[in-house]
């Protein structure tokens, strides 16, 4: 955990949870792993606040509990998970794309609370829908509820949401962790919740005390079944998207990239897999155009939109295999059916290489970019060889290697001929240490995101009075519009209120809006880079 990481993490905690939690979180990160008392003393917060903060952090999976050998409970921060806070907007976007509006709201609710029971999820989402669509007559409560629960079940089945196990230990403290154990019972439970909840709603309408009714409730959901967002599944989605984007430009062909994506999905490779399992051509064809397989020739419109015929798929398969990059390889051929494998590591390596080369070219110029790429392909080179192969004048080449070396993009290795390191009798060889650069670039990303947030907050802080005034006046205007029946009567008043901003103020507000929008975009974009680099590291370490 670097200083930069802690700094960014505590800033993120402050953004999402506020000052106290950020302070406690920072203390835990600094201490590494510590008991409550130490955290309390170090953070200088009130004990009560400290406890509360830790609870929130634990609920969001950002701090974990361990028991040391002395039987003392210790808290440990998970900075990697704290950094996932950055990706929450992406999770919500993915949920919306895959599961629609309900999916989006379910994910939003769970992310807000950390862990939730199925009851709570449905209740919260329902209330939200009701509040937002007040004008619409909430006529069909039951259907909305079943819809929500259906989406929830779907998401659980797709593993975007998973169960959190709560385990009570002897001292009656609950420890929970995400679990993969999927019980059919759970699914049934959720389906029943919708029914139950609508019953409850009717109860409310009949003004009967809820507590009284509840006791009579025939179906009672398990209280300790909590659900959490499974970030791994979202990362899998992000990984596929990253690969798709990269391949699209690499193959310069949409269909080829989609084909590889289908192979990835089919193989269900786990997040840190270096390569997929072997997939047969039959599987691919079946997945892409199922009807072709079953009935032989069929009219084209019944097939998937991308690949019309089996021959088409075969052609593209040959295309991706014959590609120089060898992202997809043919492993074997059994009884005329080809078996294929996608090499995820290779794809990632290519992506990392090209992003690093683009970083180098952008920072030090195209000549350095050429030399850097040269070193990436040829691995170990003398200064002289670099000059000759890159066809750069000796003086420029020396400047480039010096620049790259001082900025730690390449390293200089010394191999003495004898026992002493006399310069005349030593080989000086340049080389690229990929892992080191990736790590330092990740640090750079942390710094960039940190700076973005700081600057955004600063700009908002400086113009706080103006922004507050704007929100206040906007609220007044909306109120006026809502409460008065006569539009013509209100218009002059609104006009007057708008006049209270000078042209300068308006320009400033416009600029602020543009600026914070741009910085937010930057945060998300830098996170893309961060994701790519972190995944590469994880794959090469754990894959």
């Amino acid at each position: 955990m670097s200083v930069q990481t802690i700094r960014l993490c505590s800033l993120l905690l402050k953004e999402y949870f506020g000052e106290i939690i950020s302070n406690v979180g920072k203390t835990v990160m600094n201490l590494g792993q510590a008991p409550l008392k130490l955290i309390w003393l170090e953070s200088k917060e009130k004990l009560k606040n400290c406890k509360k903060a830790l609870t929130v952090l634990i609920k969001h999976c950002l701090v974990t509990i361990h028991k040391n050998s002395g039987g003392l409970t210790e808290y440990k921060a998970e900075p990697q998970r704290i950094l996932y806070l950055l990706r929450y907007p992406k999770y919500i976007y993915i949920a919306k794309r895959e599961f629609g509006d309900f999916g989006e709201q379910i994910i939003e609710e769970i992310l807000m609370e950390g862990i939730l029971t199925a009851d709570d999820i449905i209740e919260k989402v329902y209330n939200r829908m009701k509040n937002s669509s007040e004008n619409r007559v909430a006529d069909d409560n039951f259907r909305t509820l079943t819809n929500i629960s259906e989406v929830l079940v779907e998401m659980i089945k797709a593993k975007y949401i998973i169960r959190a196990c709560v385990i009570s230990n002897e001292s009656n403290e609950s420890i929970w962790f995400p679990s993969n154990i999927e019980e059919d019972e759970d699914v049934k439970d959720i389906q029943q919740i919708a029914t139950k909840f609508s019953v409850k709603l009717e109860d409310n309408e009949s003004l009967e005390p809820v507590s009284k009714r509840r006791k009579k409730d025939p179906v009672k959901s398990k209280e300790d079944v909590y659900y959490v967002v499974n970030s791994d599944q979202f990362h899998l989605y992000l990984r596929d998207m990253t690969i798709l984007e990269g391949l699209k430009t690499h193959y310069d062909d949409e269909k080829a990239a989609q084909l590889v994506l289908v192979m990835l999905r089919l193989s269900q490779a786990h997040l840190w897999a270096k390569e997929t399992v072997v997939i047969t051509k039959t599987d691919i064809v079946e997945d892409l155009c199922p009807k072709v397989m079953k009935k032989g020739k069929l009219p084209k419109e019944s097939c998937s939109t991308l690949f019309s015929t089996k021959e088409d798929i075969e052609e593209y398969l040959t295309f991706v295999i014959e590609d120089n990059s060898r992202f997809v390889v043919k492993v074997d051929e059994r009884s005329g059916v080809g078996m294929y494998r996608v090499n995820i590591m290779k794809i990632y390596e290519e992506l990392i290489h090209s992003s690093l080369a683009s970083i180098v070219s952008d920072r030090f110029g195209s000549q350095c970019g050429r030399i850097f790429r040269l070193l990436l392909t040829k691995k170990y080179l003398h200064q002289k060889q670099i000059e000759e192969l890159a066809m750069v004048p000796a003086k420029d080449a020396k400047e480039c290697t010096y620049n790259l070396m001082t900025n730690n993009f390449i390293r200089l290795l010394q191999y003495p001929k004898g026992s002493e390191y006399a310069p005349a009798h030593t080989y000086f060889i340049f080389n690229v240490d990929l892992e080191e650069i990736v790590r330092s670039t990740i640090e750079r990303c942390y710094q960039a995101i940190f700076n973005c947030i700081i600057r955004r907050n600063h700009e908002n802080e400086v113009h706080k009075i103006l922004i507050d005034r704007k929100t206040f006046i906007d609220a007044v205007i909306t109120n006026l519009r809502l409460n008065s029946g006569d539009q013509a009567d209100v218009e002059p008043q609104i006009e007057e209120l708008n006049q209270s901003f000078s042209t300068h103020d308006k320009e400033l507000l416009e600029r602020l809006k543009k600026l914070s929008h741009r910085l937010e975009l930057c945060e998300l974009q830098v996170d893309d880079t961060l994701f790519l680099f972190q995944s590469w590291l994880s794959i090469s370490l754990y894959g």
Binding site: T249, S354, S355, G369, R444
Partner: protein, 298 residues
């Protein structure tokens, strides 16, 4: 001198000079070679003179040709020694210091001798690209090695980076045009195959355009194409076309870069040169950052 007639004349002429050590007058020469036209005779004589094989002397208002023999050219023993050492070095050449070490002739005398030999066109000095001020000596009629002159890409000891850059961009343009044409194919395999261009084709194109004053070899153009590969703009493969006679023909093709710009580079922090010193309460801080200010203005 190239024609059989010329060759015959040269042989007869040299023979004549051999027998008459004191020289042959123009008249005698004319009488001996009546059959040869004046034009050929003049050409051959000039070539022999330029090559340093014969010399032209004036004797009492009359021109005489005389054979210039090696013994005569190497006047002293020292010169012979130096000559042999330099001859040994071949087309790589030899450094003054190494001659001194080998011949054991003192520095001052050696440089004098070298100078005189140079003026007699026995040896020549060539500037080496390896070290700017290092001169190497080699025999007068020897073509210096590429390692001394640097090959095609050097003129007067300077690397012609502009020439290389122009060739680089021209080659890329050519490949790009090919790739554009290939885009019209619907089949991906066809599209790819037709966008590949062999180094021969590129070479022909470049030689045709006349960008280069010297004729480039296949090796030269491949070196240029390699730089495009390292620029990430071009992909290389080896042709395995069985119909072509040359099996190891290198093929090149213009490609898209896998990522255009890394998203980190789209904001000021990516390219910031002072990021190392950037701290919240430092002189350089994100709050006061001028790069951010510029970034917002865009």
């Amino acid at each position: 001198m190239d024609s059989t007639e010329g060759k015959e004349f040269v042989a007869r002429f040299l023979n004549l000079l051999e027998t008459n050590k004191n020289g042959v007058s123009e008249k005698t020469l004319q009488s001996v070679s009546d059959s040869v036209s004046t034009k050929i005779r003049a050409e051959c004589t000039n070539k022999l003179l330029a090559g340093g094989k014969i010399e032209l002397l004036k004797k009492g208002g009359q021109l005489i040709y005389k054979l210039k023999n090696e013994d005569q050219r190497l006047e002293t023993d020292e010169e012979t020694v130096i000559y042999n050492i330099i001859e040994e070095a071949g087309n790589i050449g030899i450094w003054m210091r190494d001659i001194r070490l080998k011949s054991k002739i003192p520095q001052i005398q050696l440089s004098k001798l070298c100078k005189s030999m140079e003026s007699k066109k026995l040896i020549k000095s060539v500037k080496s690209i390896a070290a700017n001020k290092k001169k190497v000596y080699m025999l007068y009629n020897v073509q210096p090695d590429d390692s001394v002159t640097g090959g095609t890409w050097y003129s007067n000891n300077d690397f012609e980076s502009e020439f290389v850059e122009i060739l680089n961009s021209q080659c890329f343009k050519y490949l790009l045009r090919k790739a554009e044409i290939a885009r019209s194919y619907s089949s991906p395999i066809e599209r790819k195959k037709s966008s590949f261009v062999s180094s021969y084709e590129v070479l022909d194109y470049i030689n045709e355009t006349g960008i280069s004053r010297v004729t480039l070899s296949k090796k030269d153009i491949e070196a240029i194409l390699e730089t495009l590969v390292f620029d990430g703009k071009v992909e290389r493969t080896v042709s395995n076309d069985s119909s072509s006679s040359d099996t190891s023909d290198k093929m090149y093709r213009a490609i898209n870069r896998t990522t255009t710009t890394t998203s980190l580079m789209r904001m000021p922090c990516g390219v910031c040169p002072v990021a190392k010193d950037c701290h919240l309460d430092g002189v350089i801080s994100p709050i006061k950052c001028i790069y951010f200010n510029d970034f917002f203005e865009i």
